[in-house]
């Protein structure tokens, strides 16, 4: 099929399913300059000279990544109708590779949420339904990107992953979702939620398509001060070229770690079944399965929900309606000299979940709470990192060369990757998390991030791939589709993707 026909099919889906799924805030118009660009890509492909594997492909972009030609709203009232004066580096990189920016996808406001229901533009709906035909949540916060991929509305999509926001919706929607090592993909033009955790992630129907995108974006960018330098990238690659690492999966089997702390009582049976069957499948292929302990994991979620809101409260202080964005009608203070300057603007512009996290973060950074919350959470974050360093065979390439005796001495195991579920359960019903009196508290949504947050705190590469494990005697239904997560040492992104590929799309029966 030509690239143009493929693109037209995807765009038709975008428009046909706009009402039903609400995956896009700004869809790509049916006609436009992009049509000519795809035709040119088709010509290049016929001549055997495509710009890249993405030449002429439709890539959707989460609406918290800046685009000059389309609005960037972060699904927030405060940036309603905002158009950025510049492109994010990732957008430029994609366009340079011939890709077509295929609209801006819906999300939880500023990336804060696990269900993609906290949007000024309404919730995203999962393209799957449960056995009784009820609507399911898409997962968040990159729910629009995940659903756009799952429902054939684009070829691949970019999301952002701060605590699991790419992996969780990938697991719920049944796509592949990849969060690279922190600092490999540029964040210039990616609107910050929690800078020290934010990464651009990639969603695709296959790991292979995700890898194609990653190879285009995996570059140093001098505009992003947290982008890993060219020098460090070389050093990381050199370490991985040592024979004991280069031989993994080619001539030597893998040692696969199973974190025992992840086997929690809240795990639903279908998820546990998919996890076990995935491990058994890999063992059958000759890989070693080894239980490992990550003791700090049980504090990771709490630490995340202190640190991320703290950074968010700081990052979102800039939205005051003075220089850009929306300003509330009328005078915006009480008229007194000491009045609050932007209270109306911020009060009406931000949604409830964003306001909740700003308040949480403001509290945990306040002088009286700082030590007990922010500092304590940073300590937990360091422990989580040390936990991972203790179990991986590869050392962390960016860890301090000397003095990290903790990691060196307590090295109890030496695994190549960790495998665990992406989420403890299958997607909840949309009706359970929205409506006037949702049957769940914000904390219930936070719990869904329990398995994704540790890799975010440690900046490690992680991928979620769809695995189906049906119970005996039954046809597989939506609840049998589970996301299985592969986590690797910092910089081991390629291995993580390869292991994901071994599991991607597997269907396990009961036998």
């Amino acid at each position: 099929m030509s690239l143009l026909r493929e693109a037209e099919r995807l765009i038709t889906n975008q428009h046909a399913q706009a009402q039903a799924l609400n995956a896009f805030i700004t869809p790509l118009p049916r006609a436009g300059q992009w049509v000519d660009r795809v035709k040119e890509a088709d010509r290049r492909r016929e001549q055997g000279k495509p710009k890249s594997k993405l030449d002429g492909r439709l890539v959707s972009i989460k609406d918290n990544i800046c685009t000059r030609d389309l609005p960037t709203t972060c699904a927030s009232g405060i940036l309603d109708k905002f158009t950025s004066p510049f492109n994010a580096t990732v957008v430029d990189q994609l366009e340079d590779a011939g890709a077509i920016i295929a609209g801006k996808t819906n999300l939880d406001e500023f990336g804060m949420g696990s269900n993609s229901v906290h949007s000024r533009f309404g919730p995203v709906k999962n393209s799957r339904r449960d056995s009784s035909g009820q609507d399911l949540v898409a997962g968040g916060s990159s729910g629009g990107s995940a659903v756009a991929v799952a429902a054939d509305q684009c070829y691949v999509a970019l999301g952002t992953d701060t605590g699991g926001s790419v992996r969780l919706p990938a697991a719920y929607a049944g796509t592949v979702g990849f969060k690279p090592s922190y600092g490999l993909i540029s964040r210039w033009g990616v609107i910050a939620y929690a800078n020290s955790l934010d990464t651009v992630g990639i969603l695709g129907r296959t790991t292979s398509s995700v890898r194609d995108v990653f190879s285009i974006l995996n570059r140093h960018d001098e505009r992003d001060p947290t982008s890993v330098s060219a020098f460090s990238r070389t050093r990381i690659l050199e370490q991985l070229q040592e024979s004991r690492f280069a031989s993994r999966l080619t001539s030597t089997p893998l040692r696969i770690g199973v974190p025992v702390e992840y086997n929690i009582s809240e795990l639903t049976p279908s998820v546990r079944r998919a996890w076990l069957m995935s491990l058994a499948h890999l063992q059958a292929q000759g890989h070693t399965i080894q239980p490992v302990s990550l003791p700090a994991t049980k504090h990771a979620l709490s630490a995340y929900y202190v640190l991320a809101p703290a950074e968010a409260s700081s990052n979102l202080a800039k939205y005051d309606g003075v220089r850009y964005g929306i300003r509330a009608d009328g005078p915006d203070n009480t008229g007194k000299p000491d009045g609050y300057l932007y209270s109306n603007t911020r009060g009406s512009g931000f949604g409830s979940e964003v306001q909740r996290r700003i308040l949480l973060g403001t509290f945990s950074l306040s002088a009286d709470a700082m030590d007990n919350y922010f500092i304590q959470a940073q300590r937990v974050r360091r422990l989580v990192q040390l936990d991972f360093n203790a179990v991986f065979r590869a050392t962390h390439p960016l860890a301090a060369a000397a003095g990290d005796s903790d990691a060196a001495t307590s090295s109890s195991s030496d695994v190549d990757v960790l495998i665990c579920p992406t989420a403890p359960s299958s997607p909840p019903r949309l009706s359970d998390v929205t409506g006037p009196s949702p049957g769940s508290s914000p904390l219930d949504a936070y719990v869904n991030d329990v398995f994704t947050v540790p890799a975010s705190l440690a900046g490690l590469p992680a991928i979620s791939v769809p695995v189906t494990a049906s119970e005996s005697g039954q046809d597989s239904d939506a609840s049998d589709l589970t996301g299985i997560q592969v986590v690797g040492q910092y910089g081991d992104d390629e291995l993580v993707m390869q292991v994901g590929e071994l599991l991607e799309g597997l269907h396990f029966g009961s036998s």
Partner: protein, 586 residues
Amino acid sequence: MLRPWLNSGIVRSLSLVQRPLYPVLIQRSFSSARTLHATPDRVPLRKQLKQEAKSLKARKKQRKESEEASRQTWELTVGVEIHAQLDVAAKLFSKAATSTSDAPNSNVALFDLAFPGSQPEFQAATLLPALRAAIALNCEIQPVSRFDRKHYFYQDQPAGYQITQYYEPFARNGYVDLYDYDGIAPEDGDRVRIDIKQVQLEQDTAKSQEYPPSTQLLDFNRVSHPLIEIITMPQIHTPATAAACVRKLQSILQSCSAVTTGMELGGLRADVNVSIRRRGEAPGQCSYDGISGLGQRTEIKNLSSFKAVEDAIIAEKNRQIRLLESGGVVEGETRGWTIGSTETRLLRGKEGAVDYRYMPDPDIPPLVIGEDVIAHLQENLPTSPDALLAQLTGPEYGIPIEDAKPLIELDDGARLEYYQDVVDILHTLQGDSGQSQPAALARIAGNWVLHELGGLLTKADRSWDAEIVPARSLAELVHHLQIKKITGPTAKQVLAVIFEGDRRPVAQILEDENLLLRPLSRDEYAVLASAAIALNPGMAMSIRSKNQLGKLGWFVGQVMRMGEKGRVEAPKAEEVLRELIFGAKR
């Protein structure tokens, strides 16, 4: 003696006495007799001035006495924070240019406006002036320092936070020495050392312009201009020393080219914290920066002149004393000061205190400063003002301290540079002739640069420009004077001509205008002197008989007047007069 440049300053300040300027000037320039005939409904100006001076003196004395009395009972403790704009081409976290004069909002990068998705880009060049300042302030440069966010909402602060160095500043543990000549209080003796707690890098805010009642315009050109904040320990105990400390810090910052402009032009702002405790009682309950036993302190923000620093501290100290003496309690408040006022005013009460929620900035990597950079800057640091002062007053230059200080401080060091040029050229001109000792030459040059040239500048109300009278011209003029090719009055006259724009070389002016000294012969002097004595025989007689040598000078003046202009040299005239009057005695 009033320095000429001080003189006209006094004339200007007189106009502040809310009277039309011209009568002051007119009456000052004519004989004082006129003022006696002033209209009866007006108090004669002279009397009025006298009365005003008298009452001012009385007020000052009274204030001094009450200050002394309160000092006996209460100990004042002050710490100072200085914010100074660094002299750099780009902003702290973007490549946008720093500027004070460009069209508003013309130098603004995305990050300066806190555009969503933009990120900071630390400009390493900022470090050079910042490090020079920290080295000049004797600080320990930290090998690793970090940036933090200080949160508060205000429209001049686009990100909702200021990026600063709160937890780990780049320089710590410095000090500044204040000497008696820096204007410290007499009770501080010859020298007092004030420790510097830390020096940190931070962003400036945007400039607001208020158009009451409801309009504010914002100019983001200034936003993120790199600043350093210098925090002293609370070790200052008098208002005068606090002002001297700020003045000294400014002169150090300027001498190492760290900052753009001084306090007068807004390039430097000071906050002070003030506490008092009763002497001889149990120590206070408060502790700041590791110094305990202090009283509750208040902070006075945004002082923009040295005088404001001193006056605000006096006012705040007295407010706290009144409060405590009437049984009240000092609250940890933030207060403000209006120039010319006598009271500090409340800006923010304790309950309104801002919690800045300092957080490490997650986007900005740590600042790592290498030993090599520090060593290089240390080697190339310009001489400190104290060392300059020692040099100027030392054997090489021999300038009196009251001249050396203005030479260093005037015109951001440009006057000193000019002076040194003049001295250098003079030395070359003198060559090996050995006419004068080097120090004598330097002292004479100092007098001409500061007082003669300074006087012309003040009279013409012009600001400093080294090109008005090129250093070479002044040096040649002084050289001609030194080798007695011209007289002092001629030199002054020629200086004025050059000042007015005459660009002919000095030698040519002297030639063209026939100003070179053609020395009178002994006989010519004798003729002039005899004539003078003949006109005033009685006076000559009384000099001779009563040995009234003081009157000899009058005769010298007469001879000068009678002789051809620019040719009579006073010492020679006196010599001849002596011989003629005392005659036989010699």
